[in-house]
């Protein structure tokens, strides 16, 4: 008798019933003593289905994901550039599973919209921030005439096409994980290997598309997990491939500042205990890395105090008086351009906003105010915005030309994302990126380390 399976969605998992084959040989299926039944994580549904089909068997309808849903007549399919069409083709060729890597400004959203329109099935879009939820729902509304649901940022409206924050998806997919056939994960590198990936585990959707400007390290555990839950990288377009054609050219100007004498004394005092312990640790453990050092220091009161001193020193170096003056000078110099200022921390962002009387957007900014400020910025009523991390990714600011990187600690990915904010092309545009560093401090050393990694990726950083 050929196998016959039945899959029922149960709180982020599938209850599996099967005749005609050994059920525990199906992929990811385990016996659950608590309910005395077989169970699989929801994301494994498609693999089970394929296995049953390979054995010549059938699976009972309905499946744990919708097979009909969106009326394709409600869609206007966007026109794609050649590299976007190639990316979509590659995703289709990989069975509609996989990650597309495209630089910021390269039109990842447009590829996703084309993929959703092509599938014409209920779709969940997962975004890391509330700002992006709003932006996605606005963008989808340009191409889709039906209602668009939002879950997150104080809303909970489920539609065939619904945009979630990662956090809301994590909380809700145990009840909604059978409602979508396609899941699009924006800024997929942010999901990494963390708990938020459980949202993808709890979804039965067989089609999965990840979008990112900076792919994860292929050797890492996080990339392996995303590979299992979304699929492999199916297309990788570099920044250099698009600069000067589909993205604006840009130049990098480095501005080095010095600490004032009083800041220097405070910096040295805060940094010295850490520096001493670090040198001793490095002598004793030459192979150890930063994580090992933190763990070792965290285990003693003196080590903890040294770590706190290090953090104070880093904070001081990330926004000394001289950097504040430089930001003011640059904003004044580029008064007629639209500028984005990026700070290392939320507090630094507010300091710069207060210094220069410019709007600030952080996680503390309410949704209504954020929308208002972005609309003022788009209309040109304000010409500069400052942020710490919220504006790093995704937010669509078509004609910003100046990026001032006043501080940051998240490494290469953060720099690439921030620079990407000013690369949306427009006729005759050449973007300018100012990188402010504090010489002789941690800030400077971090910038140098970033530069070494950035140059192979994009010549403009040389």
């Amino acid at each position: 008798m050929p196998p016959h399976a039945q899959l029922r969605f149960d709180r982020g998992t599938l209850c599996v019933d099967c005749t005609g084959t050994r059920i525990d040989e199906l992929p990811n299926v385990l016996w659950d003593e608590r309910t005395l039944g077989y169970r699989a994580p929801a994301h494994a549904g498609v693999a089970i289905l394929e296995r049953i089909a390979a054995l010549g068997g059938t699976t009972a309808r309905p499946l744990p994901w919708p097979e009909t849903g969106i009326d394709s007549a409600q869609w206007t399919t966007p026109a794609l550039r050649d590299y976007q069409a190639t990316a979509l083709g590659a995703w289709n060729a990989f069975g509609r599973r996989g990650v597309v890597v495209l630089p910021t400004g390269g039109g990842k959203t447009r590829i996703a919209v084309a993929a959703i329109a092509q599938a014409a099935l209920p779709t969940a879009v997962l975004c890391p921030t509330r700002v992006l939820v709003e932006q996605w729902s606005r963008e989808l509304a340009r191409w889709y005439a039906g209602p668009i649901g939002i879950v997150g940022d104080g809303e909970s409206r489920i539609e065939a096409l619904t945009v979630f924050t990662y956090e809301s998806a994590y909380r809700r997919m145990d009840t909604l994980g059978d409602r979508f056939a396609l899941v699009v994960v924006d800024e997929v590198h942010n999901m990494g290997g963390g708990t938020r990936t459980e949202a993808l585990e709890m979804m039965a959707a067989p089609m999965r598309l990840g979008l990112t400007a900076t792919a994860l390290d292929a050797e890492g555990a996080a990339a392996a997990r995303l590979g299992a839950l979304i699929g492999p990288v199916v297309c990788d377009v570099s920044l250099d491939d698009l600069l000067g054609t589909h993205l604006a050219d840009f130049g990098v100007v480095r501005v080095s500042v010095r600490l004032s004498p009083s800041e220097e004394r405070a910096y040295e005092a805060a940094y010295a205990p850490f520096g001493e312990l670090r040198r001793a640790f490095a002598r004793a453990h030459p192979q150890a890395d930063w994580v090992d050092l933190q763990r070792a220091l965290g285990s003693s009161a003196a080590g903890l105090a040294a770590l706190r001193g290090f953090q104070r020193a880093a904070a001081l170096a990330s926004l000394p008086e001289a950097k504040r003056h430089q930001v003011t000078r640059l904003l004044s110099e580029h008064r007629d351009d639209k500028a984005l200022v990026f700070a290392a921390t939320v507090d630094d962002a507010y300091t710069l906003a207060h210094d220069n009387l410019i709007p600030v957007i952080t996680a503390e900014t309410s949704r209504a105010e954020r929308a208002h400020l972005l609309s003022l910025y788009r209309d040109g009523a304000v010409r500069a915005l400052v942020s710490a991390r919220v504006l790093n990714e995704g937010i669509d600011v078509p004609d910003a030309r100046i990026a001032i990187l006043a501080g940051g600690s998240l490494g290469v990915r953060e720099v690439v994302q921030r620079v990407g904010r000013v690369l949306r092309p427009s006729p005759g545009k050449r973007a300018l990126v100012y990188e402010l560093t504090t010489s002789g401090t941690i800030d400077d050393r971090r910038a140098e380390a970033r530069r070494r990694l950035l140059v192979p990726r994009c010549a403009a950083f040389a």
């Binding site: 982020g12 608590r34 994580p41 145990d174 459980e198 503390e364």
Partner: protein, 387 residues
Amino acid sequence: MFPAALLSLEPAGGNTFVPRYLRSRDEVWVRRATSEMTDLTGMPRAHVDDAWACRVEPALRSFGAPRIAILGVKHVLDRACTWRVEARVDPRRIRDALFPIAARGGERAEILACASAALGVSPLDVDTGLFADRAGARVRAAASPEPTPSEVMLSYNLALVQGVLLRAERIRLDVSESVRPVVRYAKLRGLLASFDAVEEGWTRMHASGPLSLFRNTLKYGHALAGFFPTLTATPRYRLDALCRLEGRGVVVRIATGDPIPRTHALPREHDSAVERALARDLRRLSTTWSLERETTVLRAGTKLFFPDFALVRGQTRVLVEVVGYYTKEYLAQKKLALKGVGADRIIVCLDDALDCGDEGFADATVLRFRRRIDAARLLAVADSMGS
């Protein structure tokens, strides 16, 4: 519920820990902390935080208080009061007026003067009020009334335990009385629970969620933490929570007698919407059947089952089970349990939305429903079984 950084535990042998509760030994420094915080009323939050770190914390450390406990107490005290915005004009209004003016250019003083004229306040009010609604700029308002040291300690202890449970992957719970409300509440929170009879008078519950079969997950931490206050209302319990703290699995033990406040009364009824609607409908119908919520516990070997309720008329008792995602193996165990107690009348109410086949329930009377169980049909089935 405390964040991970505030969880303070003490070793209790092997891989087992107990929460480091605040007890009478801590009262002196908690009293001082409460009083210091009251003295900071009217100060901006950033100032309060600085004063706490530079002055209050060292003073409390001199009493021998652990740093993590001091931070936990501050967490409790911060939440016991309100933080108000202190500005002559709503900061949002200031920003709406100021930024477009500033974008036109000019000296800072001119910009502030221009905005202040538009808002009808002084330039200084504009400058100081610009971001006065930020968390760090808000001013501490007195709690009303200020919590007593013992209230602070109890709040701390509850937040500590709930913080631990928030990071629990699964729990093992032994309860000696009031088992039924605990069972009902666990079910309502969407936890997957199984029950065993252990030593005399004690029922053991293992609770987690479906996904925990495949991985160590903190997904059910919220449900487990939310479930805990119900437990404190039971006369005797002991709970082992398997938690993931700083990347490693540890067992945290909590039990009756721990200094945790009883914040909830034992819930009298905790049902799904379907069960609540059915109970209401049955009350409305004129019937000789009565609804009994505290049903017989069914036992198959050491496994225990808790039917949802029973319809009772004289000596006749029909058990009613509203079926979630159960399998034929589950029902077979339940039938065995029924036979074991000499009760063989059971109606299985099966939700059509679950798309369960009813072949597994061949020996039971199945009543299918969609959204709402038809009470009249249920009684008719019970009549036919009871006659």
